[in-house]
Amino acid sequence: MRRTTFNNGLRAWWYIVLLFLYGPLAIVVLFSFNSTRTYSSFKGFSLEWYAKLFANETIVNAIYNSMSLAIVSSTLATMLGAILGYGMYRYRHLNLGWLIWFIYLPLVMPDIVYGISQMTFFVTINEATGLLEPGLLTMIIAHISFQIPFVALLVYSRLLQLDPLLFEATQDLYATPWQRAWYFIIPTLQAALISSFFLSFTLSIDDFVISFFTAGPESTTLPIFIWSAIKKGITPEINAISTLMIGAVFTAAAISYAIQRAKPVSKPSQQ
């Protein structure tokens, strides 16, 4: 009897927390379809704000910047991070534990310190040499630095689940390192590489603080645009553009969940 009350309490708590987690997002989505400017009450359904959105050149530009930033940085970070993760795995018997500090650093550094350190560095280099002017390039560099660790850790943990004998098998078949990479490692890591790319992509789209401090006047991304729109005064267009971004994240989450379900990770050690 008391047990059921307890369990029902827990279940209720789960739903309360869900309401807490999804409430703010739901409000944004709901008011993006509101037909009036007020955000205290819902007056009627309309797609007005979405129409205004795509008529606004600044927003279209911001979408373009966000996408280029995310695609370029994720591609490069997936390559760099995968190679690093592979190296960490192959030489894990060497005493490379200290390397993990470099991997952890971008993960734990406060965003604001990260962003400021990038900004001061780029500004100083730019003043001295004229290179690395704040803009998309500096943003891409800054994003790759925080994406690499996630990719490396993902790839590393996937490799740890493999049977080490598989590597020796490629040896016994006289595969050259390049053949082994092409016919064995890359196909084996395919799922990990795809989810690495999606994770990096989400991290990049998601980031505001680091982008904000490394951006130039021409490289406004969506979060930066939303930020300055909020600072100037709330308009329903922000709800509309936010809704699109929320939709994109949820789609990405669904895709990555589907991929993980489709390819259950085999654990040879537990067979």
Partner: protein
């Protein structure tokens, strides 16, 4: 073809030099990238903290500890506690938010761990997904909810908690709420990992010995979830302490945290050395937290490292 005679048992790359090149070829690009574009800039930022403040807020020689004095409140106009208030507020809000997050996440993580194993990954995903959306948007969502004239603010006003005409934001309350909202998943995940490994026989034994529910929790459950609790506390409190967006949007000028203090020195107020000194404090706090996490991870011996 490199060689007619196959070389074996060198694990792929032949010879000592081959292996060294392979080692460097795999490890070096990623690590060098991080060293050059992140470690180096961090050291540069830290060195700025020890420079003097130039005419446009830019750093210049000679080296000095002046910015740390300024951070402690000693300015041209004598001592003022503004910066110290900001520091104290950062600590205080972090502390409250972390406490609230623990209270919300603990039953939740337990609940998820009691569900059928096929359902758990999806439940965890449901908890985590909101935190993948942009934090500016999440803060904006709360601005909508806590705005003046919004139902929640009207309710608070009718209960005389706030003057009517005023919203629930900007305020310290809104900042703490935003922090809790932002970091809840960071606590749920490691706690869930602890609950998943929970040895139920110990709990059963406590029940068999007629322990009161309170004591079962204190002696049989809590100690087993301590690693997750500790990891979660570090994962929540460190980034919460350095939060920039939430205090800026939900807090307004009176609820500034240390991250905003840093940002301000590089924008409007422009005093790079002072900002760098505050950033240095944040870096030290972060490293301290990391050390605690590493040590706890080793001592409590969890095989899996909890990293989000």
């Amino acid at each position: 073809m490199s060689s007619v005679i196959p070389r074996r048992k060198t694990f792929g790359v032949p010879g000592y030099w081959g292996r060294t090149t392979h080692l460097l070829g795999t490890i070096a690009p990623g690590i060098l990238w991080i060293v050059f574009f992140l470690v180096l800039p961090s050291f540069y930022l830290m060195s700025i903290a020890f420079m003097s403040n130039g005419p446009y807020g830019l750093p210049q020689m000679p080296l000095t500890l002046q910015s740390f004095q300024e951070l402690a409140g000693f300015g041209f106009l004598g001592w003022s506690p503004g910066n110290l208030y900001t520091l104290a507020r950062s600590l205080w809000q972090t502390l409250i938010a972390t406490g609230l997050v623990i209270m919300i996440a603990y039953p939740l993580a337990y609940f998820i761990s009691t569900q059928p194993s096929g359902r758990r990954p999806l439940m965890l995903l449901i908890v985590v997904v909101p935190s993948w959306t942009n934090q500016v948007i999440r803060a904006f969502g709360w601005m909508n909810i806590l705005a003046p004239e919004a139902p929640l603010s009207n309710l608070a006003a009718s209960a005389n908690l706030i003057p009517s005409e005023m919203g629930l934001f900007p305020s310290n309350f809104a900042v703490v709420l935003g922090l809790v909202y932002n970091f809840l998943p960071f606590m749920v995940l490691p706690l869930y990992a602890s609950f998943e490994r929970l040895d139920t026989e110990i709990v059963q034994a406590a029940h068999d010995l007629y322990a009161k529910p309170v004591n079962v929790f204190r002696h049989a459950i809590l100690p087993q979830t301590l690693p997750g609790l500790m990891a979660g506390t570090v994962l929540v409190s460190i980034p919460a302490f350095g939060m920039y967006v939430i205090p800026e949007l939900l807090g307004g000028g009176k609820s500034m945290m240390i991250g905003n203090l840093v940002a301000r020195q590089f924008a409007a107020a422009s005093n790079w050395p002072l900002g760098a000194a505050a950033a240095l404090i944040m870096i030290l706090a972060t490293l301290g937290g990391l050390l605690v996490l590493r040590r706890l991870g080793r001592r409590l011996g969890g095989g899996k490292e909890v990293v989000l």
